[in-house]
């Protein structure tokens, strides 16, 4: 395996939780907490998959997603969106902007794991 995931999330405890779950499954997990510099971080790390929170400091996850999809280098990069707001509108926006998958917090660990495996495998 040895695939790499970039987790973009600002809540320390959630970073710890996801980091723990995925690394235990054999993933290499990098984390980033700021919205503004997230794109640069993705370009620098070149992950196989991105887990992207919607509510990030300084820049919204949706904006980052749009930029990813507009860039040919990252337009096919699997992106798993996370949101704590869970409203219908957010799901629609995520679909329109091209999220590979959308999950509402709180999630079950197994669900996250399955999604990540599936997205990275496809």
């Amino acid at each position: 395996m040895g695939k790499r995931v970039l987790l973009i999330e600002d809540e320390p405890n959630i970073i710890q939780a996801i980091g723990f779950i995925l690394s235990r499954d054999g993933w290499t997990v990098d984390t980033h907490a700021d919205g503004k510099t997230a794109l640069a971080e993705i370009a620098r790390r070149g992950p196989d998959l991105v887990i992207l929170d919607v509510m990030l400091p300084n820049r919204s996850g949706f904006d980052i997603l749009q930029d990813l999809r507009a860039d040919p280098a990252t337009e096919a990069l699997p992106v798993l969106m996370l949101t704590a707001r869970g409203q219908k509108r957010d799901r629609e926006l995520a679909e329109r902007y091209g999220a590979s998958r959308f999950m509402t917090k709180p999630f079950s660990n197994a669900e996250v794991l399955d999604s990540v495996r599936e997205l990275a495998g496809s």
Binding site: D10, E11, S108, N109
Partner: protein, 895 residues
């Protein structure tokens, strides 16, 4: 020498000629070949009935007495025809469109078919015309007597009377024969008009012949004539400006308002283009009529000094033994008199019959009007009787007044009498605001003033007005003297009477119109009269259109109701041998229908309505009714719409307002729910994730402790969030109960500092205070105030990013209250965010460091506001700085 018998024979022959001409013209018109009968020439000549015997004979007498003043009588009509011919054209157009039968009908029709106005104008016309007819009779009998005197026998008064009676009877016969041959809807009398046109030619030729005779036959040429005129006393006459202006005005007004003039000018008019020709041809005729007046007068004065100058036209040729010329002159005078009497009798009898006799007859038979009887016969009979009555009145007046000098002045008096119609006439033509009431007031006042200042005094001091009244006014009231109203003395009686009657008449008319409101029919008529030029270009002649019967049926249905109207029409159609509802509109049927309608809407209206349909008028009754209906409906409908639309726009505005509020609330609610959701789900996520990890299986002791701690911390965070939410909700809903008590600021701050320092795991924060300044007495809720302070100190502890975090608490107390500033030494809050830090969920830094839901400052703001104070951010203090302002203890205690 011409004997009396010869004279009578000539007269009879002339009368027979008139009968033949009139009869031929009638026959020709009946065959439908009107041709020259409708030419502008005939129209112009018919207007010459303006020149009566009074002008034919009297102008010379007038010239002898007052020099050139007689010209005013010709100048007035000339001015009207030349300068105001469009007014005449407008009258003609209205007359055509409205099927006007007389000037009384015009006034009545204009002011909503008012019966009252019709009666007033008719009375005025009768009173003004009767003496005038008497004057004609007098002139004819006088001219007879001149010949009799020549024949040797002295004219006795009895013979004079008999002559007048015979003439009156003959005229009545002629007028009845040709004036009431048929009851035409268009009121045209081709026979009569042709006959008076012939008479116009006769009187013009006669006067010119006498003129030519005196200029070339007696004086010896124009140059000698001029010399004689210069030498005579007529040349010494002085012009009186006021009198001239008045007389010109009077004759102009009379030219339009005299019943007989109105009749030939408007009612008998066949084509409005004739007016354009008459506008120059008629003044020429008048010019020819007046050309030789002065020469005849001058020669008369030299040949027959001391004789009656009113008869010079006749007596001068006689005295110079020109018998045939005298005979021609006699015929000219006879023509002038008879044509005037005939037309005047027709005009006045039409008015009397239509406005007095018929309304009375119809109302008397109200119940049985539709049952039986022939209205046509009744109308004709009433016309004939009216003609007889008018001539009889004229004759009686002639008898009673004794044929004296009183008659000579009657011309101007009659002019002034009929001129009273002028304000109502002109106002009705040009001013839509003119009303029936105004017209009635003006006419009545003018009539009264005219009668008082001119008509009654003309009888001398023996009739109605006594000498005392004439000299000193009634009951000795000086300013009511008939010849010096309101104390204005020294005016010529004619000028005086015309001035006051017209001023009072016009003022009454104007004010009466201003202060009254026209009825719907009146407004409709007013609009049609005033705007007639927009509706009519050149009205077509009288034609039968195929749509007539249908129009009649539609109109009848509106008035009688569909069932009854259809029954009438069906019965008529069956009688004519036709199937269906539409019979031929034969005169009989139209007549019957009109009678039927009169039972419902009154005679005047019914007649006008039927005449408009059968007469091919440009505006149909249906249009009129439709306009009336529509106007009423539209007005009602539009006022309803207006009310509704006002209500609607009010409601719409309210709805918009409510909607805006709801939208705003909805946006706020969405944002709030979204925030709550986020704040609740974030700790839940950690709790769920780590619980599952813990459940999943074995791990190191250290990990187990770490994960449990996270779960514990997040659970506390959740609890705190819920506490804050509830607190804020209570505060916002105003359900909080404050525990007001005396407190000391210092002790409250002590509690707050102690509470924050006991918080777990916080970074060290140095707090600088000034105990003396803090010693301020307050009336407040100490617990709540401490909560605010705790929040502010905790924020500083959390967010101050200095190396060695430090918080200064500065207290200032003054008159207005106490301010407590919390200033730290950190980077402070960016300017852009300063305005929103007191809003709910306004959190500037990332989640981890904040550890709260972002409700703290929002709660602080609510609490301080409840305590009667204020909280704000102080910019540019070197770090984050908050100021809490509290009311002074006294102020609070005083509340």
């Amino acid at each position: 020498m011409i004997g009396f018998n010869v004279l009578v024979l000539v007269c009879l022959a002339y009368a027979a000629l008139l009968f033949v001409v009139a009869f031929a013209a009638e026959k020709r018109a009946e065959r439908g070949t009107v041709g020259w009968l409708r030419s502008p020439l005939i129209y112009t000549l018919s207007l010459s009935i303006y020149c009566t015997a009074w002008t034919f004979y009297g102008a010379v007498g007038y010239a002898v007495r007052s020099g050139l003043e007689f010209v005013t009588i010709y100048l007035g009509p000339t001015l009207v025809m030349v300068g105001w011919w469009w007014l005449v054209r407008k009258l003609v157009r209205i007359g055509r469109a409205q099927r006007i039968t007389s000037i009384a009908d015009l006034i009545s029709s204009r002011y909503g078919k008012s019966t009252l106005l019709g009666v007033i104008v008719t009375l005025l016309a009768v009173i003004g015309t009767t003496p005038y007819i008497a004057l004609q009779l007098q002139s004819v009998s006088l001219s007879f007597s001149v010949f009799s005197a020549e024949g040797g026998a002295m004219p006795d008064f009895e013979a004079l009377d008999n002559t007048a009676l015979v003439v009156a009877a003959g005229l009545a016969l002629f007028t009845i024969l040709f004036g009431t041959r048929s009851l035409d809807v268009n009121e045209r009398h081709h026979g009569v008009v042709t006959a008076i046109a012939l008479e116009a030619v006769v009187k013009l030729i006669a006067l010119i012949a006498v003129g030519v005779f005196v200029v070339w036959g007696v004086a010896g040429g124009p140059a000698e004539m001029m010399a004689q005129i210069d030498a005579s006393k007529i040349a010494e006459w002085q012009l009186d400006g006021g009198r001239w202006a008045t007389l010109i005005f009077l004759s102009a007004a009379a030219f339009v308002c005299l019943p007989r003039m109105f009749h030939v000018m408007v009612v008998e008019n066949a084509d409005e283009r004739h007016v354009a020709v008459a506008s120059w041809a008629f003044p020429l005729y008048l010019f020819a009529m007046s050309l030789f007046v002065i020469p005849i007068a001058v020669i008369g004065l030299s040949v027959l000094p001391g004789e009656n100058p009113d008869l010079y036209v006749l007596t001068v040729p006689l005295a110079l033994d020109q018998d045939s010329l005298a005979m021609l002159s006699f015929l000219g005078g006879f023509s002038s008199a008879t044509s005037m009497v005939i037309v005047a009798a027709i005009a006045v009898s039409t008015m009397v019959s239509n406005h007095i006799v018929m309304p009375i007859w119809l109302s008397a038979r109200q119940g049985g009007a539709s049952m039986s009887g022939d209205v046509r016969e009744v109308v004709l009979l009433s016309r004939r009787i009216s003609i007889g009555a008018v001539l009889a009145l004229g004759y009686l007046y002639f008898r009673l007044s004794g044929g004296g000098a009183a008659l000579a002045a009657i011309g101007l008096i009659a002019f002034a009498g009929v001129a009273q119609v002028l304000p109502a006439l002109l106002g009705g033509l040009f001013w839509r605001g003119a009303t029936r009431r105004g017209a009635a007031i003006g006419l009545t006042l003018g009539f009264a003033v005219w009668a008082y200042t001119m008509f009654l005094p003309s009888f001398g001091d023996s009739f109605v007005l006594s000498a005392a009244v004439l000299a000193d006014g009634p009951w000795g009231i000086g300013w009511l003297r008939p010849h010096a109203l309101f104390g204005i003395d020294g005016l010529d009686p004619v000028v005086h009477a015309v001035f006051w009657s017209m001023v009072i008449n016009s003022s009454g008319f104007f004010l009466g119109s201003l202060f009254s409101f026209p009825a719907p029919l009146e407004r409709l008529q007013g609009a049609q009269f005033v705007n007639i030029d927009d509706h009519v270009r050149n009205a077509p002649g009288w034609t039968h259109s195929p749509a007539e019967a249908e129009d009649l049926l539609i109109m009848a249905q509106r008035i009688l109701g569909p069932a009854e109207a259809q029954a009438v029409f069906e019965a008529e159609a069956r009688a004519q041998g036709k199937a269906g509802y539409l019979p031929n509109p034969s005169p009989d049927f139209v007549e019957r229908l009109e009678r039927q309608l009169a039972g419902s809407v009154g005679a005047a209206t019914a007649q006008a309505m039927v005449a408009q349909i059968t007469g091919g008028a440009s505006v149909s009754v249906e249009d009129l009714l439709a306009v009336a209906d529509e106007t009423a409906q539209i007005m009602e409908y539009s006022s309803q719409l207006e009310t509704q639309s006002q209500e609607l726009s009010r409601t719409a505005a309210q709805l918009r307002e409510a909607n805006e509020k709801l939208t705003q609330l909805s946006i706020q609610k969405d944002a709030f729910l979204s925030q709550i959701s986020h704040e609740l789900r974030t700790p839940m996520t950690s709790i769920r994730a780590f619980s599952e990890i813990l459940m999943a299986g074995p791990m190191s002791e250290a990990d187990q402790t770490r994960f449990s701690t996270i779960i514990h911390d997040e659970a506390i965070r959740l609890t705190r969030l819920l506490d804050d939410l509830l607190d804020l909700s209570v505060l916002e809903n105003g359900e909080v109960s404050l525990n007001w008590q005396d407190a000391n600021l210092h002790s409250v701050l002590d509690r707050a500092v102690a509470a924050t320092s006991s918080m777990d795991g916080e970074r060290p924060l140095a707090i600088r205070r000034d105990a003396r300044a803090e010693d301020v007495a307050l009336v407040t809720d100490p617990d709540r105030l401490a909560q605010v302070f705790i929040n502010l100190i905790a924020n500083a502890r959390k967010y101050c990013d200095a190396e060695a975090p430090e918080l200064r608490i500065e207290v200032t107390s003054g008159e207005a209250g106490v301010t407590v500033d919390f200033v730290d030494n950190g980077a402070g809050i960016p300017k852009a965010s300063q305005s929103m830090i007191f809003e709910k969920f306004a959190r500037l830094t990332d989640q981890g460091r904040a550890g709260g839901a972002g409700l703290g400052l929002a709660i602080c703001r609510e609490i301080v506001a409840k305590l009667g104070g204020d909280i704000g951010y102080l910019p540019d203090q070197g770090g984050a700085a908050f100021r809490v302002t509290l009311p002074a203890a006294q102020a609070k205690a005083a509340e």
